[in-house]
Symmetry: C2
Subunit: 190 residues, 2 copies
């Protein structure tokens, strides 16, 4: 194992420990020392790399969710929306969905944390929706140049709001209602 | 002053104290004793009426937001949506908006608190959207019997999500984009 891969492995182990602890005790009660213990790292390593808890949490969020993702390509806009929304709902229902929900409150007191969360949960995913709509435009399903902004904002808002307010299941019926009752009418209007 | 009004006044003072403290220190750090002190009530009064913190908070939310509200009546669906959404955004930007945001995390560990919040922020307001659409249907702006469910869920999700994620201002441009780009197309489709 090279020195580089060891360093990357250690970073990954620390980020995993952060997500585990956020899920177990929440942001307020998570300590840097507990992260060190969970990741089997020395406290010196932790404090040298990330001097404060917000920085450590931001690093973990960035590490796990900072990358772009591949959009589904099913051959139709409706099929792509179904596949994408089903994946988003599955992620929101998983353990990381609860971590994000908990972090949103912490983020109201940390502007930088709020920015990182928004970038990782939203901005870096925007290109997926743009690709989806470019392909749909090429197939004549939407007008050329249709913006992905509204599609993305509405989809993200509907899923996170239902998750936050616990107002209903993120199931197949929800996906169908959102695709056929909201997203397709928005995209195909006028 | 009658005994009844005194009792109602005391209840109102206690509920106001709960909202003030939730805004200042948040749910986790708010204590029943601090509520008693702020409301100039005896601890015995507080504990006799509300044996636990979740019960006290639920009472305050119910007291302030449990009632129905009058929908705007501007003469057109678009005008009503503008007026209503402007009012919702103003409330979300005010101090109680921050309190609700903070309580959502506490509610993930308290199913009853989650239910009360959802009822007060959503269910009791549903009739407003139904009246709005009934009037719009009578004017021929939407098909008769158009359900208010999607309209209400999308509007609520877009405002609370933007508030939670601090992803953009709840300003006039947002209201216009939501009314003309999302809500009207959903309601007038097919």
């Amino acid at each position: 194992m090279t020195a580089t891969s060891t360093k990357a492995d250690r970073r990954a182990a620390i980020c995993d420990a952060v997500f585990e602890l956020l899920g177990e005790v929440g942001y307020d009660r998570m300590t840097m020392d507990a992260v060190a213990a969970r990741a089997r790292a020395s406290k010196a390593t932790i404090y040298r790399g990330w001097p404060s808890k917000p920085e450590l949490v931001m690093e973990a969020v960035e590490h796990r969710y900072g990358g772009a993702a591949q959009p589904p390509d099913t051959g139709s806009l409706r099929g792509d929306l179904f596949a994408q929304l089903t994946a988003v709902c599955a992620a929101a229902c998983g353990p990381d969905g609860a971590v994000f929900t908990g972090l949103l409150t912490a983020a109201t007191h940390h502007a930088e944390l709020a920015e990182v969360m928004y970038r990782c949960a939203y901005s870096t995913k925007h290109g997926m929706y743009e690709s989806m709509l470019e392909r749909a435009a090429a197939r004549g399903e939407v007008p050329p140049g249709t913006s992905a902004d509204l599609l993305h904002e509405v989809l993200h808002a509907m899923v996170t709001s239902r998750r936050m307010w616990q107002s209903g299941p993120l199931d197949e019926e929800f996906v169908e209602r959102l695709v056929d009752g909201v997203l397709m009418p928005i995209l195909q209007r006028g």
